[in-house]
Symmetry: C2
Subunit: 346 residues, 2 copies
Amino acid sequence: LSDGRSIGDVGEHSFLERLCARLSARAAASGSSAAHRVLVGPGDDCAVVGPSAEPLALTTDTVVEEVHFRRGWLSPAEIGERVVTVNLSDLAAMAATPRFCLAAVAIPSDRPARDLDELLDACAGWCEAAGAVLVGGNVTRADRLSVTVTAIGAVEGRWLARSGARPGDRIVVTGTLGGAAAAVASWLAGAEPPAALRERFARPVARLAAGRALAAAGARAAVDVSDGLLADLGHLCTASGVGALVARARLPRLPEVARLDASGQDFAATGGEDYELVAALPPEVAADLARLAGECGVELTDVGECTAAAGVVMLDEAGRDVTPARGGFDHFAGRSAAGASRSETR
Amino acid sequence: LSDGRSIGDVGEHSFLERLCARLSARAAASGSSAAHRVLVGPGDDCAVVGPSAEPLALTTDTVVEEVHFRRGWLSPAEIGERVVTVNLSDLAAMAATPRFCLAAVAIPSDRPARDLDELLDACAGWCEAAGAVLVGGNVTRADRLSVTVTAIGAVEGRWLARSGARPGDRIVVTGTLGGAAAAVASWLAGAEPPAALRERFARPVARLAAGRALAAAGARAAVDVSDGLLADLGHLCTASGVGALVARARLPRLPEVARLDASGQDFAATGGEDYELVAALPPEVAADLARLAGECGVELTDVGECTAAAGVVMLDEAGRDVTPARGGFDHFAGRSAAGASRSETR
């Protein structure tokens, strides 16, 4: 960018798209030797690199206190578990198996040392529960708590990219949607969320078995729901060169979310951070979802289909277009100046 | 920790030592299967994991604006290059060859988008210059700029841990010491540092070829100088169960640093962030340093020897103990409250 626009003015997604395109070109150019084979470059849920008996999936993601959550919402242990899940979910979306994690923590020096103990113990425990080992990391001082985890997984079968969906593919989601965002809305309104919603935000689970089972069954593309169903499905559609029609009434919701969405909210369609998977399945694969759900270890719901026409459109039961104007969370939107108080969080 | 002491009160190094011990035990317990073989766990410059034709070295490190540098000291491109070097230097200290990097950036939304472009382009370019590919990353919003890079390297020969040094081994350092810290001192005093010192802070180079050449020649242990020579040598000695005697007069210094150290400073002994390597070499390997320096592509200096007695002691030319009371930088020291203004940086 040769002009002086801020990141907030450019907008997160247009900025990232441009950036990924540029870094992908560089990675492709420099990643052509045998030792540096880049099978999937920047812009997908994970990079996939080789060579090795099995390729590796690589991903990194950061959670920042007062941006992704407010102090007091989560215990130190929940923060540690959550940032591990955020990364393992990217491995799940590629159908990779977690092997190793690293954790880099930035933390104010006046925080109780016990908090850091609990956070890192929870990181290690959550890695172990997913079959991975926390092999290293780093701690540094900062004004705000933030944790960056890097997850390294093995791709044992075929991997699932965001690209590959075709018109006519069924759109299938795991678990339920909107619970995490509904919990955040409750906190922001000054109320402790109902336990079921709080759990969705505080202790999401990466759908690792589901990602691998969907890949093995013949899913064509997948992405995890971090920015909201419509936004992340939009990323999958853009990468695949397709569009999508989503049936609002079919979105899987906890009862608490169903009540909120029935009264005019759109948590299931636009709420981020559920860390469920959205996959595009050939119709014949989606025909027996109950059997496939058994293999995935989690409920699967058919919420719509891929279309030849670009764009993600949500329809109500009468077939009316009820697509919200803004389908997902932009980390950089709605901020006037660094350090200003915020009303939004993610 | 069951008491309520803060991280600053406990102190970075004692905290990290305790933490590494606990995480190492966990990693060893869970990293015993073939797929998760942990060859070197938490506490060294990198983790080393297998299996594969060649093991992988994994490391992650963060730089935080206003902690590791002040805004205005470095251009966005220099920030990008520097955080890559910080990580590649850990690979260098293990004698690993860089393959892939990931970059997670947290940045205020009012920063010019151009800054982020320049930072990430420099990250990618600096990776490429070292033979690695920047394959992915993440951008999130935060009050302060911070960048966490994860570097993944291949161990093609033997790796160099911090442990393994023996009494009688010669202590050898690459390049020159203290330049980065002298540049910081100059900035903190309100003056632009001399170009040669600024370059040491702004554009350090990871000693990748040197790490591999030292390992191939038979070095027994190595560490990179991020906290200061005496501090990092202390880590090597602790891991190896030895001590060290260092000759203050022999420390390699740029002329600007030599002048400062001659007038009562101790930049070469205690200044961090030079990203040189310190290695323990059997005396016969250290006998022909000029030849070995040719293989390393950088000057090597014999600065002392490992001892059976624990502790790192620095001697002047008259043989007097001139070890400073505090040998290295503690990220968490000297802070009373988060957000308070700081006089120290790293």
